[in-house]
Amino acid sequence: MPNAKQGEPDIGLDFLDMKLNNPFILASGILGETADLLLSAFKAGAGAVVTKSIGLEPRDGHRNPTIYSTPDGMMNAMGLPNPGIEDFKREMDVLRKTDAVVIGSVFASKPNGFSILAKKMQDYGAAAVELNLSCPHARGYGTEIGSTPASVRRIVKSVAGSVSIPVLAKLTPNTSDICSLGLAAQEAGAKAVVAINTVKAMRIDPLIKRPVLANRYGGLSGSAVKPIGIRCVYELFEVLTIPIIGVGGIATGLDAVEYIMAGATALQIGTAVQTRGVKVFSYLQDELKEFMRKENYGHLSEMRGIVHEP
C-alpha cells in the first residue's frame, strides 16, 4: 500500500502487478482506439486505461446508427470496430514511451485466437490483458462464447498458459448465473474478473417503426445498469477469492463506494466519460476521498465487501 499522509484517505492501489494511483480505470471501448485519446484519459487522472477490444483482423464495425442515448443510460452496437492487432502496434508503441498503465483488451472467436492476441499485447508492453468474453452485439464473439463456464474455462486457460502478464476475464451479465462464469475464470488462471459488460437491450422508434440501432439490439450501459452491476459484483464476491473490477454506471464517487462495499477492488468508467467529460477521473477521486474523509476511512480495503454477512 502506498503510504498515506496523516488524515488524507489513501486511494492508491497495488493491484496485480500494477501500481495504480487510484482505483478508477478507463473501460474498454471508450476513446480507446488511439494512443492520443488513451493518453488524454490517463493524464486526466485515470489510474489505468483499457484499450478498445482488439481482434486478429481489422473490422469496420456495424453500420450506423450504433449509439442511442436513453434518459439514464446509453445503448450501443458498435460491433467491435478495431484496426486489428498488427496495426494497433502503432498506438501501443506510442503508449510504451509514456508512464501510462495500459491494459490491452482483446476478442476472438476461439481460445487460440485469444492467446495469439494476448501474446501480442504482452509484446507491445501491456501491463495486463483483459479478455472480452461479453460483448452482446457481435456475432460469434463476446457473449456468444462467454456465456458458458466450459467456454470461459477453455479460453482463460489457453491465454493464462501463454502469457506472463495478469489475465483479466470480463464477464457478461446476460446470463442466469454469473458466479459459475467467474469460478470458471478463476479456476482457469484469471488473476481478476471484470463485471459487467453491457446488458443486451432494444428500443424502437415508434414513428420510424424500426429498432433505433441498425444492429436492432445493442448493449445498455450507464446509470440504468448500475443496480445490475452492483448485484453481479456482490454475487461474485461471495464465491471468488481473486479480485473483482466493478464496472457499470459508475458516474460519481458514491457510485464507486457502492461497488467497493459490494466487493470491488478497482473500478472501470465508461459512459460517464461521455456524460461528465474526461475530467470525470479527477471528479471521482475528489468525491471518493471526500466520502472517506467524512466517514473516517483511511484505505479502500476498509470498505471493501463490508455489506456481506459475516
Partner: protein, 263 residues
C-alpha cells in the same frame, strides 16, 4: 453535458443546389448555431453527420452532396418521408467578426451559409470566396448574394469567375479587401492552404473539419484527430489549435480506426 435531443422530422421541400447536390428542408424545431452538425438517420440505410445550412422558424435545411449510399438515399427522399435527427452537436463558429470573410470549397459552403445569414441578421456583412471544380459544382452562390454578401467565384477549370482554387483567389483578394476574421470549410487540402495564407498576414480564423463519425457525442473515438474529437471539440477549430494538431491535413482514420495518409 446535456442529454442529446432526438427528433423525427418530415421532408417538406427539396431544391437542386448544384450538380449532384440538393438542399433539403425539414419541418423541425431544432435550433442550431452555425457550424454545429446533426446526425441524420435515413431509416434502413445509415446515419451520417450533416451541417445545418438553413435554420429558421420551424424549418431546418441541409445541403447534401451525393457521394455514396447514404447521401444518395438522403437526396432520393420524397416530400413527406421521415428521418430522425440527433443533435445539434459540437462547437460552432464564434460570432465576433466585424468584417468576416468566408472561404468555401464545394459543399463546404453549407455551414458557411448559416453563418452568413446569422451575421446578416446581426447587421454584419462580409465577403464570400466560393470555389468548386467547375461552374456546375458551385454551391449556394445565389443564397449568399441574396443575403447581400460580396461573392467572389473561383473554378479550377475557369468555367466561371477566377481560374484557380478558392485559396489562390483568397491570396489575391487579401491585398484589396478589409477583413478581420476568416472562416473556412471544404476539402482539407484547401483548409490547409487557406490557413497558411491567413497566418502569413496574421489573419485569425476558424475552420470546420470532417472526420468519420459514428456516435457524434464523444464516446466512440472514431472522429479522433490526435487528442481532439471532431464531434465534441469541433467540428469548428481555431487556426491556433489546428497548428498543434499534427494529423491535420496529413492523416485520417478509417472505419476500423486505422490511421491513413489523407489523399
Amino acid at each position: 453535458m446535456s442529454p442529446e435531443t432526438v427528433s423525427v422530422s418530415r421532408l417538406i421541400q427539396k431544391k437542386n443546389a448544384a450538380k449532384d447536390c440538393f438542399s433539403l428542408f425539414f419541418e423541425s424545431q431544432i435550433q442550431s448555431s452555425p457550424g454545429q452538425f446533426l446526425m441524420i438517420w435515413i431509416p434502413g440505410v445509415d446515419e451520417i453527420p450533416m451541417s445545418v445550412s438553413h435554420c429558421r422558424n420551424g424549418t431546418i435545411g441541409l445541403t447534401v452532396k451525393v457521394l455514396g449510399e447514404a447521401t444518395e438515399a438522403l437526396c432520393n427522399l420524397e416530400e413527406g418521408d421521415r428521418v430522425r435527427f440527433r443533435g445539434p452537436f459540437g462547437q460552432g463558429f464564434k460570432l465576433e467578426a466585424k468584417r468576416p470573410v468566408l472561404v468555401a470549397g464545394g459543399v463546404g459552403s453549407a455551414p458557411l451559409l448559416l453563418l452568413a445569414s446569422t451575421y446578416s441578421s446581426m447587421g454584419v456583412k462580409g465577403d464570400a470566396i466560393i470555389g468548386a471544380k467547375s461552374k456546375d459544382e458551385l454551391t449556394l452562390i445565389q443564397e449568399f448574394e441574396n443575403l447581400g454578401w460580396n461573392v467572389y467565384i473561383a473554378t479550377d477549370d475557369g468555367s466561371n469567375g477566377f481560374k484557380g482554387t478558392a485559396s489562390d483567389l483568397l491570396e489575391k483578394k487579401l491585398k484589396v479587401l478589409t477583413l478581420d476574421f476568416l472562416y473556412t470549410c471544404g476539402p482539407e487540402k484547401m483548409l490547409f492552404e487557406v490557413i497558411r495564407i491567413a497566418e502569413s498576414v496574421n489573419l485569425p480564423g476558424q475552420a470546420a473539419l470532417e472526420r468519420l463519425m459514428k456516435c457524434g457525442i464523444g464516446i466512440c473515438g472514431s472522429c479522433a484527430i490526435n487528442q481532439k474529437l471532431v464531434c465534441r471539440d469541433g467540428p469548428v477549430f481555431d487556426f491556433k489549435e489546428l497548428r498543434k494538431i499534427s494529423e491535420f491535413g496529413k492523416a485520417k482514420r478509417d472505419a476500423a480506426g486505422r490511421l491513413r495518409p489523407s489523399v
